[in-house]
């Protein structure tokens, strides 16, 4: 059957296309589907580029931190600082137009008492953007991963994403689709890979939005 015949059928929904009408009808249905024509909000492109910039490695090489010369550490530090300044300048047009971030101190539990860090929380038009800057939380062991949660005072948790830190202590970007006023606690759990989506109960870090009362 010629392309011309199929093109006519796609255009009008009628004509002789024996045996091929089902796929063409499906394409016609998809062309009439609202999802097909939906346009992403303009901010998504900005957020993608800002997130890429934020997640670009900025820490000095491992060798410099674990035994290299003091000079190498200084040079690495200056390089990292310059990269951070560049990133901040590059991202300033995005960040300037966004609401202020709330900083949430994160502390290790008895399972990871040496871990510490901070969560930066910012409301956006599509949810809550959360960046975790964590220190001294070891990479998740093979066969497991970390999972971020926001938790209500009624004991209900909503997952905000997973990560492993095996490639270094980079910032972790997460998203919450529920209001932080209703789910003011931020938890990090260690999860085995071969189990279901519910929280394991192995909470390794905790934080709580300021001005939300005691848990």
């Amino acid at each position: 059957m010629s392309d011309e015949t199929r093109s006519r059928y796609l255009e009008s929904g009628s004509g002789e296309v024996s045996g091929e009408s089902e796929r063409l009808d499906l394409i016609r249905d998809v062309l009439g589907d609202e999802a097909t024509w939906a346009e992403p909000p303009r901010r998504v492109a900005d957020e993608v580029m800002a997130a890429v910039a934020l997640q670009r490695p900025t820490t000095p090489p491992v060798e410099a931190r674990s035994g290299g010369s003091r000079w190498a550490m200084v040079v690495g530090g200056i390089g990292a600082a310059a990269a951070v300044v560049t990133l901040v300048l590059a991202s300033v047009s995005v960040i300037r137009s966004q609401p202020a971030e709330t900083l949430v101190p994160m502390a290790g539990t008895e399972l990871e008492p040496g871990a510490s860090g901070e969560a930066s929380v910012r409301p956006t038009g599509s949810g809550w953007w959360i960046r975790l800057d964590l220190e001294d939380l070891p990479p998740a062991p093979e066969g497991s991963y970390y999972e971020g949660w926001v938790w209500s005072d009624e004991g209900e948790g909503v997952s905000i994403g997973t990560f492993h830190l095996r490639d270094g202590p980079e910032p972790v970007i997460m998203w919450s689709g529920v209001a932080m006023s209703e789910y003011p606690s931020i938890w990090v759990t260690l999860e085995p890979e071969d189990e279901g989506p519910e929280a394991s109960g192995e909470v390794v870090m905790k934080g709580r939005m300021p001005d939300s009362g005691d848990a």
Partner: protein
């Protein structure tokens, strides 16, 4: 098709190439996400996460292969994960992890059709949308765009011919 040089730079983690890839595939990924998640905010999250994951995994992309199926797989997985995680998880709850979103069965077609219409010239894309999505006749489209009916017919004809060529692999699937 994406420019091979852009894809190679994307594979190497070049941020400018990420923007070029977003400009080409942001629409199809968002459309797919809308089809699966059905809500603009969640679809925006899924789109953002998809491109971030793609950037993180860029070194695994083989520039010899078609980029569309590669990012489609990431987008589909991301949307399904968001769909499942939106089902609030309580420590003591048993969730059915096998549950799949209702729009999943035509997600690939939505991705491919959107990718195809995004390659049409603007005036042809406009006629296709007014015809199939808004359900207008050629006469109504001509009135709305203030152009002759004959022009609408020729644009529509050309656009559908292009779509047949661009969607041959979907039609034959």
């Amino acid at each position: 098709m994406m420019d091979r040089e852009v894809l190679e730079r994307f594979r190497l983690g070049d941020e400018a190439a990420v923007k070029a890839v977003y400009d080409r595939f942001g629409g199809p990924v968002f459309a797919l996400s809308m089809r699966i998640l059905g809500e603009q905010g969640l679809a925006a999250d899924a789109t953002q996460q998809t491109f971030l994951k793609a950037w993180r995994a860029a070194s695994t992309y083989d520039p010899e292969r078609n980029f569309g199926p590669w990012i489609y797989a990431i987008a589909r997985r991301t949307a399904i994960d968001i769909y499942r995680k939106q089902r609030r998880s309580v420590v003591t709850d048993d969730l059915d992890v096998a549950v799949l979103p209702p729009g999943l069965e035509t997600a690939w077609e939505v991705f491919e059709v959107r990718a195809a219409v995004d390659q049409l010239p603007d005036e042809e894309r406009q006629v296709i949308k007014l015809s199939h999505f808004d359900g207008l006749t050629h006469v109504e489209i001509a009135e709305q765009l203030d152009i002759p009916v004959g022009t609408v017919k020729s644009r529509s004809h050309r656009a559908h011919q292009r779509l047949i060529e661009l969607l041959r692999h979907v039609e034959e699937a």
